[in-house]
């Protein structure tokens, strides 16, 4: 399973982008993959709060991609370590 995370916003207003295969993520087992498969597609209906982050998570498996959008604070608790791990190896646009 391939995962791409894009973080936008924050006071810096820069875009941080990272991607990896879940197999390469330490501690990301079957539970994490289940969480990623269950992500709702589409985005939050409301604009985010000023200077908070916005996340875009794209999961690709067996040639099919699905993208979910979250405002900071709405990110599912179980996914936070994964998002952080992917962004830690990310680069700025």
């Amino acid at each position: 399973m391939h995962i791409q995370v894009v973080r936008r916003g924050g006071i810096a207003g820069v875009t941080l982008r990272g991607e990896t295969d879940t197999a390469e993520l330490a501690g990301a087992g079957r539970d994490t993959e289940e969480l990623l498969r269950a992500l709702p597609s589409g985005g939050p209906a409301v604009p985010g709060r000023p200077d908070r982050f916005r996340y875009e998570i794209t999961v690709t498996e067996a040639g099919r991609s699905q993208t979910a959008h979250f405002n900071e604070g709405e990110l599912p608790e179980g996914l936070r370590p994964v998002v952080k791990a992917v962004l830690d190896r990310g680069t700025l646009d």
């Binding site: 006071i11 810096a12 207003g13 820069v14 604009p47 709060r49 000023p50 200077d51 908070r52």
Partner: protein, 346 residues
Amino acid sequence: MTTRHPLHCIVPPGLLDRLARASDEAVRNAALDTLALDRRFRLTRAESAARTGGFLARPVTFARTGGQPNRTIHDQQHSESQTPGVVVRSEGQPPVSDSAVNQAYDGLGATYDYYWSIFQRDSLDGQGLPLVGCVHFGTAYDNAFYDGAGHMFFGDGDGQMLTQTTAGIDVIGHELTHGVTQHEANLTYSGQSGALNESVSDVFGIQVKQRVLGLDVTQSDWLIGADIVGPELQPALRSMAAPGTANPHDDQPADMDHYVPGGDVHTNSGIPNHAFFVVATTLGGHAWDAAGPIWYATVCDPALHPGASFAQFAKLTLKHAQRDYGQGSSEATAVRAGWDAVKVPL
């Protein structure tokens, strides 16, 4: 007097709906007008309630004279909880050993003092709202934000993108100004209104910094976040003098020819940011002599609606420049020059 007051109208809306379908054209038009007005009032009422958290008026619990902030600094101890942590410094207490605590305390004070001294505004809500600063939010957290309820959270940065965010007086002024905007125009945080919301925060954030350092418009570098950037974002987050040039990742446009459709609110804010820079530097002196007050009057103008476009905002700045300084004043001319420079039509 024939003035109607549809706010609490005695004519039931059902009757108006029937009249709106009447065959007589005059009756039909009058009913349609009244219905439209009524909807506008309902919208305004709902919008106004949203700004103040559902309360139309705050009960007066004690008489405030204003002029003194009420600050409390909390240590989040690297938690991402948005409940304020341990109290580490309260109003009137001496500095402590943690520089983040003292910077937050001083920055909140400088912002309060700016709004009080220049506009006699008593804190973010104009009613003495206590200012709560929460330092050491999260681990290596590359951000600072205002939560909409009097609390400002500061990350320590990861040392690469951002460093200790409390070090930026302009950053603190920027965040607290989100609170002022929320209580006034409540600009919707997306599209052009979102970019205006961001720009207003930069416009007043830079003035708070200029005022603390005693800088006039020629002495200021007009950089936002210069004191909180790490090596990746050197030398600053944004440049009001030259949007798009603040760091290698800066994608801000400087005029409408380069507006980014669907762009982040921090991207297109470069356009109104640069307009303010041109107005302030055309006038000379301190940014808060005239340019700041014109922008402040615009943000507080009930005619500025939450979904305002750049052009609607620009027209209101001209209205206030003309009303407060005169039709042919140098202030009005400078405002025209500012919006002309960024190609926003007046």
